[in-house]
Structure formats: C-alpha cells, structure tokens
Amino acid sequence: MRLNTDMTVNRITDEIWEIPISEKPGMLVPARIYATQSILQSMDRGVFDQVTNVACLPGISRYALCMPDGHWGYGFPIGGVAAFDVEAGVISPGGVGYDINCGMRLIRTDLTLADVQPYLEPLMTELFRKVPAGVGASGFVRLSRQDFCRVMTHGAGWCVERGYGWHRDLDRMEAGGCIAGADSSTVTDHAMQRGINQLGTLGSGNHYLEVQVVSDERIFDPVTAAALGIVGHEQIVVMVHCGSRGFGHQVASDYLSLFEKAMRGYGITVKDQQLACAPFRSPEGQDYFSAMNCAANTAFANRQVITHQIREAFATVFGQSAESLGMELVYDVAHNIAKVERYAEGAVVVHRKGATRAFGPGSPELPDMFRQTGQPVICGGSMETGSYLLVGTDRAVRETFGSTMHGSGRTMSRAQAKRMVRGKELQQQMQERGILVKAVSMSGLAEEAGLAYKNISEVVESVERAGITKKVLELRPIGNIKG
C-alpha cells in the first residue's frame, strides 16, 4: 500500500489505521486515522506528520485521532481529534483552529422543490442581499461594547432575547447555543474591535449558505429523518456553514502568541510552533478556554442572526411567515472547538478541529428530543456535490471521544483549482446543472470548485462503516451563496 508517509501504518480494521508510538520520538500515545484504504492513500503527508505531532502533547489520552476528511492544517490536522486530561494535560489553540466554533446549521422548511424552483432567482437574490458575505463584510446588527460582551456570554440566547429567532431554536443547538465559562475580560480589545460589526455575516473561503433538496431516494433512515423534521418528497432545507469571523480569528492569533511565550515557563516543547499550548489548569490555559468560549458563543449568535435573515428572506419571497413555512432548526453543531467532556478515563478537554461531536442515543448531554435518534451531525460537501445529515453513535463515544467527520476535505490547493476552473464559467456550468450560485468573489468561487474536494460520499461511507456515525440522508444543492 502506497502512502504519503514513510511511517509504519498498521491496519486495525478496514476503516481504522494506527501509527505506533515507535514511529516518532516523543509520541505518548498511538495515532489513529479513520479512513478507508483508498482515502488513507489519498491523504497528504501533513496528516501523518501532524497527527503524530499531536500524539506528543502532554497529557494526551488514548490516541491522537484523525477523521477521513483529514488534511494538512496548522499544528493539528484538519479532521483532528485529541483529548487531554484536565489536570495533567494541555489546551492548544492549534487544536481548535483560527475560526473558533466554525460550524454547520440546518434549517428545514415545509416547501418543496416545485414550490421554490419558480422563485429560486429572487430567493437567492434576497438571501444574497440579506446575508452579507465576503471580505470585510459587516452585519446589520449594531452592537455596543456592552452588547457584544453579552453576546460573548449568552451566545444564541442573546439573539433570541432580541427577537432574532425563536426560543425553541436553542434546544436544537449544541450546548443550547451557549457554552458556560465565557468571560469577556479574557478577550483583547483588538479582538472586540475586529468582531463587533460582523454579527450576521458569512465570511468567505469555504463558508456558504446553501438551499438544498431532500429526495425520497436519498433518505437512508426515514424514521430518524422524520424525527428530525425531514420527510423528503423534494423537501427544501437551508444549510449554513460559518463561524466566529474576525473575532474568533483574533482570539486564536492573540493566544497563539501568548502561549508561545508561556510554554517556555512551563517547560513544554512542541514539534511545531502552531501546536503552542499551555497546561489546561494554568492561568493562561483557563484564559484561553474562556476567550475561546466567548468566540464559540459569538459563532452560535452569528449563525442565529443569519438564520433570522434567512427566515425573513423566505417570508418576503413566499409572502408567508417563517413559522407558517415550517422553518424550524434541525440542528446547529460546532466543528472547531475544545470542550470538557467525561469519558472512561475521566474529565478530558476534547479538541475537535474540523471534526464534529457525535454523541449517540441516550447520551445524558443530549436534550430529550435527541435521546432516541442520537445527536445530529451535519456534514457539508463541496458546493457542486451533496451534503449529509448523520447521527452520532455510542461507538463514537466509546472510540473517538464522541467525534466524527465534518465535511469532504480538500485535495487540491486554491491556486491549482483556480488554474483548472474559472469562476464565471463554473457559475454558468452549475446553473446549467440546476445550482444557482451568487458569489462575492469569482476567484473565491473557482477555489471552492467541487474538483478541489474529496468525494464526500466516500468519506461518509468510511465513518458509517467504522460505526462512529450513521447516515440519515443526503442533501442536494440548488442554490449557493459564497463570500
């Protein structure tokens, strides 16, 4: 088997591969990659180097993990999962990523493709108008510094209090859309200034808002789908992928710099500067955890304001209230975050970077409505292919610290994608295939072409076969907004 590494990679099962601790000096635990053989063979060298670097961090529990959508990242690979003992372990901004609580949200509707198709152009135009996207975009919500501090501590709840959403939305978000332990005094002025005008904005890069269709033949588990509010029959749903915007990026930058200096004082050395970390219980570690939670809550609020704008856009175009259109939240889940969770080894700080929490049915942390189904997991594909709704499993809780994949994962650089595809032509081709795209940047659109990504269906198959998530349904895009 040819891999992009010289390290020994042992087969544990057809979907689990292990790099033993003998492969790199300093590894404290083995590294495990969840992937089919063909996905493993397509993974870049960075995945193997980085997941084994993570395995060297102090206090790491059990394994350093990488999901099948893994690729090179900063410090941790994208798709990386690692848990650290809360007493003896560390917290690392590189294990969360620059876009803190980048995540996915899915909103259902009672509309069908037949209802929406005649109005797709005005709908996408209205969504493009109402949800600012791209470089430097600012949102319509004007916040005082005091308001912004409340957003940091109250998350999506702040939005609902202000009328940007419904109280029941909060039940359908990871952590109810608000993570405890956020203290705005741990956030720099720079971070505040960078993020204060960005609530309700999409950003750019791989972030998007997508109108999608659910066909009957792409529902794999109709009972679970129905329990989550999806019935098929060409039903329309809306997916949002974005995070904490400039605010979270600045929190990450600020604490990476701080940790580089602080690490020396704690006698910690790392294999890569971007793995800068501090003991979780140290003042620096606790400050980062608090600031990260501020950014995570701001990301929940960001997606909540975007949801409000989406509902308004649908209401305007279809001349009915969002409630009468059945625009309920299906779920909102983070895929760039660190959280304290309890597993067999006790309390650990689970870092998920480009990986999604995937708690199984009966998990005590899930609200009652998901106790039968397991926690919804939303996985975004490229804008040309499809996306998936999955649910978590008990096996994920046992094996992967309740974690799974988050998307399809890139296989091609942005520059290479731009050489192969022109934005305007791609937009035209997608329209001919029934996908209407509105984009702020044509070069940004070309960079996100489907050919730059792995086949999401193959990635989903590997987590399904590994038993760490269960497929519910596949979603097909008909309209996409990109920054």
Partner: protein, 144 residues
C-alpha cells in the same frame, strides 16, 4: 521595484502561502505587504479614500513583520476596508527597528471592487524571514 512575490502552491492546501524576496529588509517588508494586500482584493480596483498611519517597533525584525502583517489583517475587519497600497519605511534606532506605514484603501464595496480572500490570520506555520547572500526572503502562510 526591488522585491518579488511568488505564491506557493504545495504548502497550504486550504489556505494561501507566499514567498517575498527583496534586496533590502525594507523591500521584503514591502513585497510581503503587497502579497497580503493582493490576497484580499485586487488593489487596482480599490480607491484610496481611507487612510491609517501605523507605527510599530520591535527588536526582532521577524516578529515585527509578523506583527505588521497581522495589523493589516486586523484593520480589514475592524474598519471593514480593503487596501490599495501600504507604503512603509523601516529605520533602526539603536537596537529597535521602527516600522512607519500608511494603510490606504477604502470601505468594502462588492459592486466595484474585485474582492478575493477574507484572510483570517497570519500563521507561524513555516513562517520565516531570512537574509541569504544579498537577498532577503520571507515565507508566510495565511489562514483563509
């Protein structure tokens, strides 16, 4: 122009990386700044109504470049602007290197400007600023 910029493709799959070279330290700062500015928007499409004078200092030239590039990214979001140019000067005062620059740009306007990537941060991944022979070289990876 005593600097050049080359975008690197094999470093950051999901992001942007570039190498700036210059005949002097000041030149390589200018090249790296131009690469960052061009990553966010086509400068030729950005008028220059917004200005911000910036002064930074450090005893470490590599830290100063990192700090300065991060400052440019900060103003993109804090002021909601993209940039046309950023003329700068470097002067040593004792063992402290001073950067005096002026960021020139205008508020984001997606109708009239060619917008590109919303840069999240300047990373330390493979980051370096080095002098080799008579040539200065900076390697920078941007998270986008």
């Amino acid at each position: 122009m005593a600097w050049t910029v080359r975008f690197l493709e094999d470093i950051a799959l999901a992001d942007l990386a570039f190498e700036a070279t210059g005949e002097s330290l000041e030149d390589v700062f200018r090249g790296a700044t131009q690469a960052l500015v061009e990553s966010m928007a086509n400068p030729a499409t950005v008028p220059g109504g917004w200005k911000r004078r910036i002064e930074r200092r450090d005893t470490d030239q590599s830290a100063l470049l990192f700090d300065w590039l991060s400052e440019v990214v900060y103003w993109k979001d804090a002021a909601g602007v993209v940039f046309r140019e950023a003329p700068l000067m470097l002067t040593w005062e004792g063992d402290v290197l001073f950067l005096r620059a002026c960021l020139i740009g205008s508020p984001v306007d997606r109708k009239s400007q060619e917008l590109r990537n919303d840069v999240k941060g300047v990373t330390k991944h493979l980051y370096e600023l080095k002098q080799n022979g008579g040539q200065w070289r900076a390697k920078v990876v941007l998270d986008v």
